[in-house]
């Protein structure tokens, strides 16, 4: 039972990072490795503002906004001019950016792990021998609220419609009067804001923020969106939880020697061999 709670929390984090990445990927089809750098930025800004203001929720808010703007910057100044090039070009730029970001954080905030201790004063929940820590509660609630807002935004607002149209076909969306440029910026803003949210939550959960904390998410999040069908938001949500549960089960299973990351990739490769389009993509004829 305890495993289920842990897997749910792990899944929530995967989902937050991956949904943001899916937004960006859905529109630009770029393997945006630097998303993990954005995630780390969110964590550092959150920690910095928390130290400055002493108010966690205010710090969270400020970090999300600033990180979102940084995300727009990544699009405007780096990706925009190479969109016409072979897809490998933005990929390499993204890798380069990720290296630059990690090193910048090291220079600005030191290479050491810094604690991010926050107490929410609601205490841990104990139920028939299962412990849900207050941090886990917060993660589950925040994820739930974010996903609900995303669902509303994508399905019941003009902006969501514009984003879905751009993901489908940017040229056609443009001729239909969608402001493509603005929509892409919004997608980067939202995607990066979600990454910041994830970064801060992980920082608090692990009580740790450090420049290379984005290494694992940089590829893990791609496993999630591949499983989810590359670009499908619902797919990413489901895949995030499925991956978290599979990993937890296989790690708990004593006979299995491989570490978490290898398991994630084994799952992904197996799925790709059986369903090359990912788990949740409607078949494109």
């Amino acid at each position: 039972m305890q495993d289920i709670v842990n897997a749910l929390v792990l899944g929530s984090i995967y989902v937050l990072i991956s949904v943001g990445l899916t937004l960006v990927y859905g529109i630009l089809k770029i393997l945006h490795i630097a998303h993990a750098g954005i995630y780390t930025l969110g964590a550092f800004l959150g920690l910095m503002f928390y130290h400055l203001t002493g108010n966690f929720w205010l710090a969270l808010f400020l970090s999300i906004i600033l990180t979102g703007i940084a995300g727009i910057g990544v699009y405007r100044y780096f990706y925009k001019r190479v969109l016409e090039e072979s897809r490998i070009v933005p990929l390499v730029i993204s890798i380069g950016l990720f290296i630059v970001m990690q090193d910048l954080y090291r220079l600005i905030w030191s290479p050491y792990r810094q604690p991010f201790a926050v107490s929410f004063g609601i205490g841990d929940i104990r139920l028939k021998g299962i412990v849900i820590t207050e941090h886990q509660v917060i993660i589950l609630i925040v994820t739930f609220v974010s996903l609900l807002s995303m669902y509303f935004l994508m399905n019941h607002t003009k902006l969501g419609l514009a984003m879905r149209a751009c993901a489908e076909d940017m040229a056609i969306a443009g001729t239909l009067g969608v402001d493509v440029e603005k929509t892409i910026s919004v997608a980067f803003f939202l995607g990066s804001a979600l990454a910041a949210l994830a970064g801060i939550l992980v920082g608090v959960y692990e009580n740790n923020v450090y420049p290379t904390m984005g290494e694992v998410p940089s590829y893990k999040s791609f496993v999630v969106i591949v499983l989810g069908g590359f670009g499908s938001l619902y797919g990413a949500v489901l895949a995030g939880f499925i991956l978290a549960f599979t990993e937890t089960i296989l790690v708990a299973w004593k006979g299995f020697v491989l570490p978490r990351d290898a398991i994630a990739f084994l799952v992904m490769i197996t799925v790709l061999m059986i369903k090359p389009e990912g788990l949740f993509r409607r078949a494109t004829r």
Binding site: F78, V82, R87, I99, V223, F265, L266, M268
Partner: protein, 288 residues
């Protein structure tokens, strides 16, 4: 920098040039982007290390085994490329890299996290290869690999690859079996990476799982793209530049990685087909 140190860097550059040239066949020629090339490199290195240390096999046999086994593994790991395409393939190759490294780390036969140590010095034609000897020896292999690339350019193999890269349906329509050529690419490329693995194992005298991690695959791809995909001189230029650059930037130790990353970003933004690729500044400079 001492001469020995420079010669060691030359050896590294040669090994990475061979790796970039081998990735060039999959990615530059056949258009299949792979971000897991270090897996083939590692398989080659581990093959030589295990044979030399555990079974006392002589140098030439380890070399042959590395090339053959990496080639065969390349063939099998190339099979996913028949099933999945584009970004899915990129992710599948990353995944392969992680799984291979995990196997090195967690299976005792491969020496676990501490790798395999005590690989003897390479002995060829009765000479033990020292630092200088190894720099010369790897240079010879780099020349051979280059000639191999140039040869491929001349024969129909290259046209088959190019056809697959530019349009798979059109390739089929002129009799190019897309699957067959992808398998060719992965096999040849795997074998060449196996050669690089053998050289690495004997240069270092030991192998560790992390020598072949995802970040090494990223470096190899970056070298290739920076120099110019699909060209023969580009991958070599890329490998030498990215091996020597961090050393050249030593005087600003603290900003080394930052500049390294920035250079990658800027070159890609302003020279998207690479320094020696179509419209590359260096290509133009040479033509003039």
């Amino acid at each position: 920098m001492s001469l020995d140190y420079i010669l060691t860097l030359v050896t590294f550059s040669n090994i990475f040039s061979i790796l970039a040239l081998s990735l060039n066949i999959i990615t530059g020629y056949a258009g299949q982007v792979s971000l897991g090339h270090a897996a083939f490199f590692g398989i080659g290195a581990y093959t030589s290390a295990i044979l030399a240390v555990k079974f006392g096999v002589g140098y030439w046999w380890t070399l042959l085994a590395s090339v053959l086994i990496s080639g065969v593994v390349g063939l099998f790991l190339g099979l996913p490329s028949l099933r999945v395409k584009h970004d899915f393939l990129v992710l599948a190759t990353i995944g392969t890299n992680f799984v291979v490294v995990a196997l090195f780390k967690y299976i005792d036969f491969f020496g676990g996290p501490y790798g395999i140590v005590g690989i003897p010095m390479a002995r060829i034609f009765g000479i033990d290869l020292s630092t200088t000897g190894f720099a010369v020896y790897t240079s010879i292999w780099l020349v051979i690999s280059t000639v191999l690339n140039l040869y491929i350019n001349k024969v129909y193999l290259r046209y088959g690859f190019e056809a697959v890269k530019e349009n798979e349906e059109a390739a089929e329509s002129i009799g190019v079996s897309v699957s067959l050529f992808k398998i060719y690419a992965f096999t040849i490329s795997g074998a060449l990476a196996g050669l690089a693995g053998n050289l690495w194992a004997y240069q270092m005298g030991m192998v560790f799982p992390d020598d072949f991690s995802f970040s090494i695959s990223i470096s190899i791809l970056t070298m290739l793209v920076l120099g110019g995909m699909g060209t023969t001189s580009g991958p070599i230029l890329g490998a030498y530049t990215l091996t020597f650059l961090p050393e050249a930037l030593r005087f600003i130790q603290d900003y080394r990685m930052l500049l390294y990353g920035l250079i990658i970003v800027l070159v890609m933004m302003y020279q998207p087909s690479g320094l020696l690729g179509k419209n590359g500044i260096l290509r133009k400079a040479f033509k003039r």
